[in-house]
């Protein structure tokens, strides 16, 4: 990896200022993507701004009214094991427990995952699939307006995610078909039902990152059951195609994972589905 200078701000404002002033600056949160990417020289930031000195200020999980609010530096392991999340939004705890492996989950953060917007990451599916609000040092974004394509978000260069607010859903589920080597989602589908609002968000499959499937959402409005999705498919155009799976294969998996996610959502809602 190319060498760089590192900085350890002790406050959020200081961190934002550094990002604004330093050349080729990158935020280091959990480092579970940034460090491997730097090793491969896919990223070569001149400056790394580490948020771990202010991790306490940016961490925590709280039930606020009808939402769960999670600090940006909260580690995946803490979301997966949180009693609040397990009780009120079990699909989110379940998803967090599927990221990487136990050691990766001890470091990786929710803010880092969302800001990176890897097309195969899990958290973007949860944010879009629940209609989360992403709070930053400059304001807030609805998930529908946050993800802008491969590794692209609405975030400005000196903008930092501070917390994410997930509205509680009556039903929510996630199902993921893993790449056997990397454990990333080859296809992951997050579904939710909140009042009359149905969301189906897909990660891993789209060549432009996470996306919603309007036809599936429409079908689930009549009845939130896997049967409602039977026979429904999505076109292979716009799907990723690589050595791990063709576009057609991924398109097919979207349907399969969506039906399984609905089943899991119904199980969670019935107080089952823990495994």
């Amino acid at each position: 990896m190319y060498n760089f200078a590192f900085h350890r701000p002790t406050g959020l404002r200081q961190a934002s200022n550094m990002l604004g002033k330093l050349e080729e600056a990158k935020i280091l949160a959990g480092g579970q993507t940034l460090i491997p990417t730097m090793k491969l020289r896919l990223a070569s930031p001149g400056n790394v701004v580490d948020l771990n000195a202010i991790a306490d200020e940016l961490s925590g999980i709280e039930l606020k009214g009808r939402s769960i609010v999670i600090g940006a530096m909260t580690r995946h392991a803490d979301v997966a094991n949180s009693d609040v999340v397990k009780q009120h939004l079990p699909a989110l705890a379940y998803l967090a427990g599927l990221v990487g492996d136990p050691a990766v989950r001890h470091r990786g953060t929710i803010g880092g995952s969302l800001a990176n917007n890897d097309p195969n990451a899990d958290y973007p599916a949860a944010a879009l699939g629940l209609g989360a609000t992403i709070h930053t040092t400059k304001g807030k974004y609805e998930a529908d307006n946050f993800f802008k394509g491969l590794f692209e978000t609405a975030l400005g260069a000196d903008e930092i995610i501070t917390k994410v607010s997930f509205p509680l859903a009556k039903k929510a589920g996630y199902e993921k078909f893993r790449n056997q080597a990397s454990r990333f989602a080859l296809v992951g589908v997050f579904v939710s039902k909140r009042g009359s609002e149905i969301r189906v968000a897909v990660t891993g499959a789209g060549s432009n990152g996470v996306f919603r499937v309007a036809s599936f959402e429409e079908a689930l409005k009549k009845r939130f059951a896997p049967k409602s999705l039977e026979g429904l498919t999505i076109p292979a155009t716009g799907m990723n195609s690589d050595i791990h799976g063709s576009a057609e294969y991924r398109a097919h998996l979207v349907g399969v994972m969506a039906r399984r996610a609905v089943t899991r959502a119904n199980e969670f809602a019935a107080g089952e589905g823990e495994d």
């Binding site: 990896m1 190319y2 060498n3 760089f4 200078a5 590192f6 280091l28 480092g31 579970q32 460090i35 491997p36 730097m38 090793k39 790394v48 580490d50 771990n52 392991a77 990487g100 492996d101 136990p102 050691a103 990766v104 001890h106 470091r107 080597a181 990397s182 454990r183």
Partner: protein
């Protein structure tokens, strides 16, 4: 070169580290603690697992300076007074290793597993928890046996 200081296996230590020096390089090259291995260098194999402030992490995916001031436990810190740690003893007893390359990471992961999940670990739990540790020799069977036995012995 700048210095980085931390507590490793109970000892206050200081060694040179570049910005890009990984924790695993710091341990192996800076402190000559070569029990922590580098297998894949891509966060997948788990041969480099150590504990930082009591939690298992992949030392190839953390900069040394991120551990400044923290408490690190490596495989060398498990045995006490010349006596193997119960988890190490269980791996020896149950033939939980063949070439041994993955073993330090396996054992550090196993101890972390016990810290989080308790002493009564069933096979599915152990196998699931081992998803970040790869062994190319054993087929895992004896590793799973070793961890179940070691977990009990740690009680």
């Amino acid at each position: 070169m700048p210095k980085v200081s931390m507590t490793v296996n109970g000892n206050a230590v200081t060694a040179d580290a570049d910005a890009r020096t990984l924790l695993v390089q710091y341990l192996r090259e800076g402190l000559r603690l070569t029990g922590t291995h580098v297998g894949c260098d891509t966060s997948q194999c788990g041969a480099c697992v150590v504990h930082v402030d009591g939690k298992a992490v992949k030392a190839c995916t953390m900069f040394a300076w991120e551990a400044e001031g923290k408490t690190v436990l490596t495989i060398e810190g498990l045995a006490q007074n010349g006596k193997l740690h119960p988890m190490q003893e269980a791996f020896r007893e149950n033939h939980g290793l063949q070439c041994g390359f993955c073993t330090p990471g396996m054992i550090m992961t196993a101890v972390d597993m016990v810290n989080r999940k308790g002493h009564d670990l069933d096979d599915p739990t152990i196998r699931h928890e081992l998803e970040g540790n790869i062994c190319r020799c054993t087929g895992y069977h004896n590793i799973v046996k070793s961890i179940a036995a070691g977990a009990k012995a740690m009680a």
